[in-house]
Amino acid sequence: MNFGEGLTPEAIAFGLFTLLTLGGAFGVVTTRNLVRGAIWLIVSLFGIAGFFVLLSAPFLASVQVLVYIGAIGILFSFAVMLTRGMTNLKERFNSQWWLAALAAVIAFMLLMVGVIIPVFGNTGAPVSDQVQTTVDLGVALVSGNQYVLPFEVASLLLTAAMIGAIVIAREDD
């Protein structure tokens, strides 16, 4: 890689979002206070939204903020507040935490070797003039020969999940 061309604004933004994403993720898995954990999760997912902007996918970035921060983050906060005793966990990790750490490190190594090494030298800029816009995404999601079936299945899944969640969480009366 070549830092020779200087720190571009994009590189600075990339560094910032990396910090947010990975820092937030560390917060999520280590905190004793799960409300804070939810907030760390929001920070981390906000970083991901930033990456989406950098990768010229503004629609997904916006949806990421809407779904994760506006819905999932708030859902987590509520779940934590509704169930007592989550703000001061005595034991954060289970007994095999070192095994888990080992597995995570091995997974990271495998990913590095299997996926990242092959594209490591490849610093070439992507074909940027052919990037498709949000309009194309919209068309792709509803056009018959592309993703209209997954799209409909996804909406069915959301409906089923909504009904399921209501039925499960409802108090019997």
């Binding site: 907030i39 949806v63 921060i69 708030i74 507040m81 949000t134």
Partner: protein, 409 residues
Amino acid sequence: MQCDNIINTLAPCLVQSGWNGDLANFISIFLGVVLVATFPLLVTIGLIWFERKFAARIQDRMGPNRVGPFGLLQPFADVIKLLGKENITPAGADKVIYNIAPPLMVMSVLLIWAVIPLTPIHVGMDLEIGALYFVSVASFGTLAVIFASWSSNNKYALLGAFRVVAQLISYEIPLAFALLVPVLLAGSMSLVDITNAQAGMWFVFMAPLSALLFFVSSQAETGRGPFDLLEAESELVAGFNIEYSGMKFALFFAGEFMHVFTNGVLMAVLFTGGYIGIGGIENSIPLLGLVFLLLKAFVWYLLALLVRNALPRVRIDQLMNFNWKFLVPVSIVNLVMMAFLFKVVQELGLAPAPGLENDFVANIPQTLVLFAGNVVLGLLILSVVRQNFRRERLEESAKSAIVPVGAGD
């Protein structure tokens, strides 16, 4: 771009006078951000005075009249008072989150201004997903409420927040569905495109029901008017911001006032043509566009104030019933009907011919059809609601008929 006008082309001007190109760009963008962020805050100061005066007149009072002529300097006196107050952080509070929440609240409103087209040539950022962006940054406000209530370690605050968040999340749904109608009519999510699509005819005439739905649900989003359960003073002490004092409280307060006016601006942009004035005059003198935009926004703002001061507060169950059993179904039906009618209009050739989109007369046929569709749907909804209430009344009277007269007393 040449340096012809220092307001519109600051960066080239700086480069011409010997600045570094990147630095000049950075400074011009930075100044733009500062301007866009400061403008709504300044407007808010004036609006606080206006709202207090307006509310006072409705309640047959004088309103602020001691500081300056007509009490005009009252907001400044308030700010000085608030700055002088002690900033209390309650014991057991989560300090970091407690301090993040108030700026987050203001931020959620300020960020909306980044995509609002102020004049034909001045817009913070013309995002192609402007409408979606507005919905997603608004969710920061909900987050600020949760942060504030949880971190202040107070039961009343938490109880208030549960109400607020339920309200904010619920009313986001009709808001988004109503927002989709102008997006549909303009064929774009960019607020600039939506504004320009209204050069011939304002969307409020094509989609009056959507405008009404958007107005009602945005009123609930600000926690104003009949939906001010979040600071129902008599029930919740003060709601989620009970532990805040001084300038931190003022930020929540300013955020709310700014949100009301921002909603007026959004109504103006989405439904009444934004900066578009009479006879395209705003294209030759861009700053007139800002005047038109603010005038329209002010009309919507006045309406919001009137609603706020004239209607009594609803109960929490009424609030939820109104949203889930009335607004959400109506907004969905409205969206489906508008999509269907708009397609029909296009197929029948009633839509203005290419090149004539900005012509008032060419827009009349499709507007008539869409308006008629809205009126029919509105009458239908009214009749359904009437039937429901009649049945409810009959049940009530049947119930009370069984009970002997005077037995309950």
